[in-house]
């Protein structure tokens, strides 16, 4: 594939992620922060996000699996996840966390479990998409091209 084509694919792909609400403008901010001194900035940050999120999701699974659920603890984890997801612009994950916290506050175990499922789903979805995106970027770079900056209308 020609570099130009890959670039176009990347552009369209990224746009679709925004359109679907998987990513928000925070992601653009990250891309804008990336510069020559930090050419892999976005990838690094997102990788950190993946690491932290997976740990949190594990903790959440364990916490909700307890005979007596510590909702404060659960809420704390969800809060952290909400913070992390907001850092990279993983909008749908963040929104799922908001709903999750509501159930924690009313101590609704069923609601929490459902929300956990939701959060996991959203997380794996955005993770998948971002990994694809990075792969496309990598292809462009190795082909000698440069990653186009997305100018979004919003």
């Amino acid at each position: 594939m020609e570099v130009v084509q890959i670039q176009r694919t990347l552009m369209d792909y990224t746009k679709s992620l925004f359109m679907e609400g998987l990513l928000d403008s925070q992601f653009l901010q990250l891309q804008q922060l990336q510069d020559e001194s930090n050419p892999d900035f976005v990838v690094e940050v997102v990788s950190l996000f993946f690491d932290d999120s997976e740990k949190l999701l594990n903790e959440l699974t364990i916490a909700l699996d307890q005979p007596s659920v510590d909702f404060k603890k659960v809420d704390s984890y969800v809060h952290q996840l909400k913070g992390s997801s907001s850092s990279i612009g993983a909008q749908r994950v963040k929104n799922a966390c908001v709903a999750f916290r509501n159930f924690c506050q009313v101590q609704n175990i069923e609601g929490c479990l459902t929300c956990l499922q939701q959060v996991k789903q959203e997380y794996y979805l955005v993770k998948n998409k971002l990994e694809t995106l990075f792969r496309l970027e990598q292809q462009i770079v190795t082909s000698g091209g440069s990653i186009p900056m997305i100018e979004m209308g919003f």
Partner: protein
């Protein structure tokens, strides 16, 4: 997480670039992003992910950071607690962050002293302006130091001196609260008890002056003065502090004319020499004597020609002479002790002059000449001034004073001093008094006409655009226990304040003339007045700027 340490000294030259930020966030992604954002703003960033780690870093290197940005939710220590600690121990501005923007949380942050509360996701533009918090703090610190030191040295020594409220409290960053509670006189500071305040009205002061002159300045002592004054309710402590302040002023006056060539400590040229000399004086005073020795770096350029005959003790000779002349032995050990300035206040009231001096638009060498010239002129404050015009002047003056405060970069030295004095936290309540003061602002022509020099001063002042609160003034008014004697006295007060605002002793002469202190030959007495202006920043904004009340020489100010 690896903590990057970038310890460096503050770079005031390229401000806000080089601002040293400490980021405290356990979220690794945010930590990384914030670091990147802040670096893009040309700030120096240190990150850590634990609150305790942050405190250690801050303690290890006091003055190693300019501002702290912390997330509210930290695993080891609640962000609000960290906030309190930082405020108490380091007195740095702290910005809180959270993904949770609930009003209650934000309010809690503000209550604990956060100077800002940012919601995540944080945008770069929000971080770009965080330097304003550092700047604001510095301005207020400069002011507060001056005010505190002005009042503190006297007040702690004498029981009946009323004092700044809450000057010792540094609970969190309660400045903002303090600012708004101007009517809340007592912030619950345990160490400063509210005592009856002695207001040195013109009348009282004149009695004091007469007594001093009768005794002879070099033989003067609080007891003798008190006896001569024949004011039953006045205590020896009151007199002693008043005397101390007067001598302090006189010393400053001498120093003002001195070259600051050898001073190395401070950045501001005008202030440094003065600062050195002030410190020297301070040391002497803390030894319990009133002798004013001046450091070698201060060459007395004071031109006293016009007044040598009149002034006792002020000579244009070397300082050694003045030392002998000015010193007053304090036979009473108790007095000696009480006059001792505690080591906490390494910056005596004199330092406020230093600060003021640096704000002054006049060159240091000019000042003493101006002073004396002025004294030669017949200043008839009582008659020459339209009552109405005067009130405005102090306001302008204060504006002038306050305005330059912004331009002074206090640097580390002042901050350190604040720290050593125990984190005095007094913040002038600017905004509330604005309206009051604006009402009173009047054209300065009336006053300016009579005195050419004043014209110069006023011109300088009137160019000041901001109307920053002349909050200091009204505060004093409310604290006054004495009703204004008469309008004439009030007039004089205005001038004194005016002069003070100019930040230089000359002005005081001007003002004193209005007192009709012709008998008062002693230059030492003259500098007293300005200090009043730096009375505690407790402002009862309900009190409008009343010229008559204005001239209340607060005991505490003479410290």
């Amino acid at each position: 997480m690896v903590v990057e340490t970038c310890f460096s000294s503050p770079r005031t030259d390229a401000f806000p670039a080089g601002l040293r930020v400490l980021v405290v966030d356990d979220d690794r992604t945010w930590s990384k992003i914030l670091e990147k954002m802040l670096k893009k703003c040309f700030y120096e960033v240190t990150t850590c992910c634990l609150a305790r780690e942050a405190l250690n870093l801050l303690r290890e290197r006091k003055d190693g950071y300019d501002i702290v940005i912390s997330d509210v939710n930290m695993p080891d220590l609640d962000g609000f607690k960290l906030l309190e600690h930082v405020g108490l121990e380091m007195d740095l501005p702290v910005i809180m962050m959270s993904v949770d923007g609930e009003t209650r949380r934000v309010m809690k942050g503000v209550q604990h002293g956060a100077c800002d509360y940012l919601l995540k996701p944080i945008r770069m533009k929000e971080l770009r302006n965080i330097w304003q918090h550092v700047f604001r703090k510095k301005i207020h610190e400069v002011r507060d130091i001056e005010i505190i030191h002005m009042t503190r040295s006297g007040s702690e020594l004498f029981d009946d001196v009323h004092f700044l409220d809450g000057q010792d409290t540094t609970s969190g960053r309660k400045r903002k609260d303090a600012d708004n509670k101007h009517s809340d006189k007592d912030l619950g500071d345990p160490s400063s008890t509210k005592k009856a305040r002695v207001v040195w009205t013109v009348d009282l002061h004149q009695k004091f002056v007469k007594a001093v002159n009768q005794i002879g300045f070099d033989k003067v002592g609080p007891k003798k003065i008190l006896d001569l004054m024949n004011v039953p309710w006045l205590t020896r402590e009151n007199v002693a502090s008043h005397l101390q302040a007067a001598e302090g002023r006189r010393h400053e006056k001498l120093c003002i004319g001195m070259k600051h060539s050898d001073s190395s400590t401070k950045d501001s040229t005008a202030g440094s020499g003065l600062h050195n000399s002030m410190n020297v004086m301070q040391d002497n005073m803390s030894n319990g004597s009133f002798s004013f020795s001046v450091s070698n770096s201060c060459a007395p350029n004071v031109d006293l020609k016009g007044h040598e005959g009149d002034r006792k003790g002020i000579t244009s000779g070397p300082m050694a002479e003045s030392r002998g002349t000015f010193s007053t032995n304090i036979p009473d050990p108790r007095k000696a002790k009480s006059l001792q300035i505690s080591s906490d206040h390494s910056l005596g009231p004199v330092d406020s002059v230093v600060n003021m001096a640096s704000f002054s638009s006049f060159s240091w060498n000019e000042i003493p000449e101006i002073q004396f010239k002025q004294e030669d002129e017949p200043l008839q404050l009582d008659d020459g001034f339209n009552q109405q015009s005067l009130p405005g002047l102090p306001h302008r003056m204060l504006t002038e004073y306050l305005q330059p405060a912004v331009s002074v970069s206090p640097g580390p030295s002042i901050t350190e001093k604040v720290a050593t004095s125990g984190g005095i936290e007094v913040k002038p309540r600017c905004d509330k008094y604005r309206s009051n003061h604006i009402k009173h602002s009047c054209p300065t022509e009336a006053v300016g006409e009579s005195h050419t020099l004043n014209n110069q001063v006023f011109e300088l002042i009137s160019t000041t655009s901001s109307v920053k609160s002349p909050d200091i003034i009204p505060n004093r008014l409310t604290e006054s226990e004495f009703s204004p004697r008469n309008l004439n006295e009030g007039v004089v007060v205005e001038d004194l304040q005016l002069c003070w605002l100019q930040g230089d002793c000359y002005a005081m002469n001007f003002g004193l003339q209005g007192f009709d202190c012709t008998e008062f030959n002693n230059a030492a007495m003259i500098p007293e007045t300005p200090f009043h202006l730096y009375d505690e920043p407790r402002f009862d904004h309900e009190h409008l700027f009343d010229p008559t009340e204005y001239y209340t020489i607060d005991q505490g100010l003479f410290a």
